[in-house]
């Protein structure tokens, strides 16, 4: 039906584009404005906890949040410097 109408109209429907742009934009803005510093706070606290046990490069701690229609994910990416595996093994023994 939609395709037929599009053929008659001779143009593609722009509403789906509007919808998609809004969804992407709002996912971003909600993350930012819902609580402006949420990611910053999370990052600082995670860094503090992990740093108590492992020496980390603060720049290698990345906290990212994604919001989709069905699921939201919180991704924490911490790069552990080489050599830490050994000290961890020592600490555990």
């Amino acid at each position: 039906m939609m395709n037929l109408l599009r053929l008659i109209g001779g143009r593609t429907a722009s509403a789906p584009v509007a919808r998609e742009r809004l969804q992407i934009l709002l996912a971003h803005e909600r993350g930012l404005r819902g609580r402006p510093d949420l990611l910053g706070v999370l990052r600082a606290e995670i860094l503090a906890v992990v740093s108590r046990h492992i020496v980390l490069d603060p720049e290698k701690v990345i906290v990212r949040m994604d919001r989709n229609k069905h699921v939201s994910t919180l991704e924490v990416d911490i790069e552990v410097p080489t050599g830490v595996e050994r000290s961890l093994a020592v600490a555990a023994s």
């Binding site: 509403a15 509007a18 809004l22 803005e29």
Partner: protein, 271 residues
């Protein structure tokens, strides 16, 4: 018990003032005692929508500053005896409005009205904040257009965090009012659909007001559209919305223009 309802949107020009006047008049037509308050200090317009622009002596700022009593600033509608207007100041600086002053006025109005409708200024600044500050419920006016939907999203988050009710940990009741809706264009995929907007903003729908020449016509003559032409499509849509506000279950439809033959030919030019 009195209900304080803010009509807000973030974006300007989507129909806040038109909707405040139409909803206020429709509530009064149903026998409720209603006051509509213009919070757009410096750019007042609700007086025009209500056709009361030449009857203003005192305004909201005068009351806040203690220059006039609330009863002196309230203007009774000439058509409906249970409808009142509290106008904004046309000249004063918007900073003259204080949180405390607004709180006192709303508290006083709660004693003698069933509905207090606050017409918010555009934007997300102080004026918009003060308009929503003491509200129990909110009508978020949105056009089926990306920037309007985005601003509504922002306003919804303000309602959930910056109102007195939200600060008390209570939920402010929110309603979406979609205005300037053109079902033919939405069907052709040229305009965001109702489903799209509701899904994106996740807020219950109060009503769909069709794009209509009756809205401009009513504005031209200074009469809320629900009073000016109660049988028109937008007036019926506003009346349905008001019945929903009052707790009735009304089937959601998009009222359409019932155009006569003459209207079909001359409607466009005559408006």
């Amino acid at each position: 018990m009195a209900k304080v309802l803010v009509v807000t949107s973030g974006k300007g020009g989507v129909g806040k003032t038109t909707s405040t006047a139409a909803l206020g008049a429709a509530l009064a037509q149903m026998g409720e005692k209603v006051v509509v308050i213009d919070f757009d200090v410096g750019l007042r317009n609700l007086d025009l929508a209500m056709g009361a622009e030449r009857r203003i002596v005192f305004d909201l700022i005068n009351v806040v500053q203690g220059v006039a009593k609330l009863s002196q600033a309230l203007i009774r509608d000439k058509r409906l005896e249970n409808l009142w207007l509290l106008p904004a100041s046309a000249t004063r600086d918007k900073d003259a409005l204080t949180d405390e002053g607004v709180g006192n006025i709303i508290a006083e109005l709660r004693n003698s009205y069933d509905w207090i409708l606050c017409d918010s200024p555009a934007g997300v600044e102080r004026g918009a904040l003060l308009a929503m500050r003491y509200a129990d419920e909110a009508v978020i006016v949105t056009n089926p257009e990306v920037s309007s939907v985005r601003d509504s999203d922002r306003i919804i988050r303000m309602l959930d965090s910056k109102t007195v009710k939200a600060e008390r940990g209570e939920q402010i009741e929110k309603h979406m009012l979609i205005t300037r809706y053109d079902s033919a264009r939405a069907l052709r995929g040229e305009m965001l659909s109702i489903e799209d907007i509701l899904e994106i903003l996740a807020t219950p729908l109060l009503g769909i007001i069709p794009e209509s020449q009756d809205v401009l016509r009513a504005s031209n003559v200074g009469s809320p559209v629900t009073l000016n032409n109660a049988a028109s499509a937008p007036a019926r849509a506003y009346s349905d919305a008001v019945r929903r506000l009052m707790g009735e279950t009304v089937t959601m439809t998009v009222p359409v223009e019932s155009k006569g033959l003459m209207n079909r030919f001359f409607g466009r030019r005559a408006a």
